[in-house]
Symmetry: C2
Subunit: 275 residues, 2 copies
């Protein structure tokens, strides 16, 4: 049973300060806060909140005409999470732009685990997606969605990758960013060393990879490493690990990194019994 | 040898009228014109223009600081295609928004072929991507990129699918929309009938598909049919064709339609020798 929705008539109302000008907040320090947009992500947030593993909902802000249709989802949140409603003018004035969805929640995420701790705690049988230099939030979100769909235990990113807790990445991931464990720190070389030390079979995905994706052998612990769409993985990394390629027509711009990741995760998850 | 770039100082200059307010033009009738954005798509446009199969470049508009870096690509266009340059203020005033890329071309595409003509002219050994109700231009662009990467002979869409010649779809497709033959007309039922009449083995992709994607048998003519992300394929279509599923973790929101299409095309292209 959620609280009765509280009507907001003033975009400057301090109770909804966390939702003000969210596009600007995307770009500056967010202090562990994030914005969940849309009904699918709202439902994932409710589940993550109940699971209590470091993700919590703080407040919900809805366009007034969305409230009745969302009662099922709202009931999944504890009663102490405030639900604010506003008409379209006030809602857009709060958000700072015309937000057709009319569904937002403010969430808080504890400090992400240290890379060492996360990798050290992975199960004996693990599938990991590792990424280097991913700068596009759509690609980041899609990669998390794929990681969830194919049962990856964690997503590990180097420090040059973008923040998956950015609003658009969360939305594109359909909320998977809130459920798939991740860490983002250090260099890709350090990440590879750590995975090697933990006995992972590491495969770098590259259009010039030496092994056809279909010939990757099963392994209890497999990590798939992908790089940026333009440059791919750095040469010093490619020469320190085994590399695989997704077979495709020659002479074309390579696949989108998220699609290539999906194809590769699907294959590796299947041969290792994750799906 | 291209023409010497012509400097534009007035956003109202009639010579660049085709580039004015391109976001509005996205939404209204484009009369066969399209906007190619960015260097990768510009190169694809040059190739499509030279190939002469119904796609032609009409004019190029560049931010002045981009010109010298693009001389290779500009040289791929015939000398009678005008190249206009503008400074950032004028460029953005023309486009109607801040366009960081600073690289645009105006192209023209002949009327797309009729569905009958395109399907009737497909090779004996063919791979087709068929789509129903795809409304998101990013997904549309990604699907064309995948179709090109895995050697599909055509993309066939029902009339409820969005226009792949929309600026963002072309960009996301990295120009594949300009090279992969396509038709968009009629109902999905008519599309399925036409493919069946032409001897295509049709597989509908669905999270509840009866056959594991990996168990699809080779066939000289295969069509993969995908539906909208939310609803999927209509039930009356699913019950008239064979259906396949991409194996994934249960209980999750299904894969993004473009990613699922990429995984399925990769598989079907491989077993049929297209890649």
């Amino acid at each position: 049973m959620t609280n009765v929705p509280v009507r907001i008539d003033d975009p400057a109302d301090p109770r909804i300060a966390g939702f003000v000008s969210i596009k600007e907040k995307d770009l500056t320090g967010r202090h562990g806060r994030f914005i969940a947009e849309g009904t699918v992500v709202l439902r994932m947030l409710a589940a993550a909140h109940r699971a209590g593993r470091g993700v919590a909902a703080e407040a919900i802000l809805l366009l007034e005409n969305r409230v009745s249709g969302l009662s099922d989802i709202l009931a999944e949140f504890p009663a102490d999470i405030p639900v604010y409603v506003a008409d379209a003018l006030v809602f857009d004035a709060i958000a700072g732009f015309n937000m057709h969805r009319g569904v937002m929640a403010l969430g808080r995420r504890d400090q992400a685990p240290r890379m060492d701790v996360l990798v050290g705690g992975l199960p004996v049988k693990s599938l990991v997606l590792a990424a280097c230099g991913i700068s596009n939030h759509d690609n980041m979100g899609s990669m998390f969605r794929n990681a969830a769909a194919f049962g990856a235990d964690a997503v590990l990113m180097d420090e040059t990758s973008c923040d998956p807790m950015y609003r658009k990445a969360i939305r594109v991931s359909v909320g998977s960013v809130l459920t798939v464990p991740f860490a983002r720190e250090g260099s890709v070389a350090a990440l590879v060393s750590k995975l090697q030390a933990e006995g992972f079979s590491i495969w770098g995905l590259s259009p010039r990879g030496q092994t056809d994706l279909r010939d990757i052998a099963p392994s209890p612990r497999t990590a798939l490493l992908v790089g940026t769409e333009g440059e791919g993985l750095p040469q010093h990394i490619l020469s320190s690990i085994r590399t695989a390629r997704v077979r495709q027509r020659p002479g074309l711009d390579s696949l989108n990194v998220a699609t290539a990741t999906g194809i590769a995760l699907h294959q590796v998850a299947m041969i290792n019994g994750f799906i």
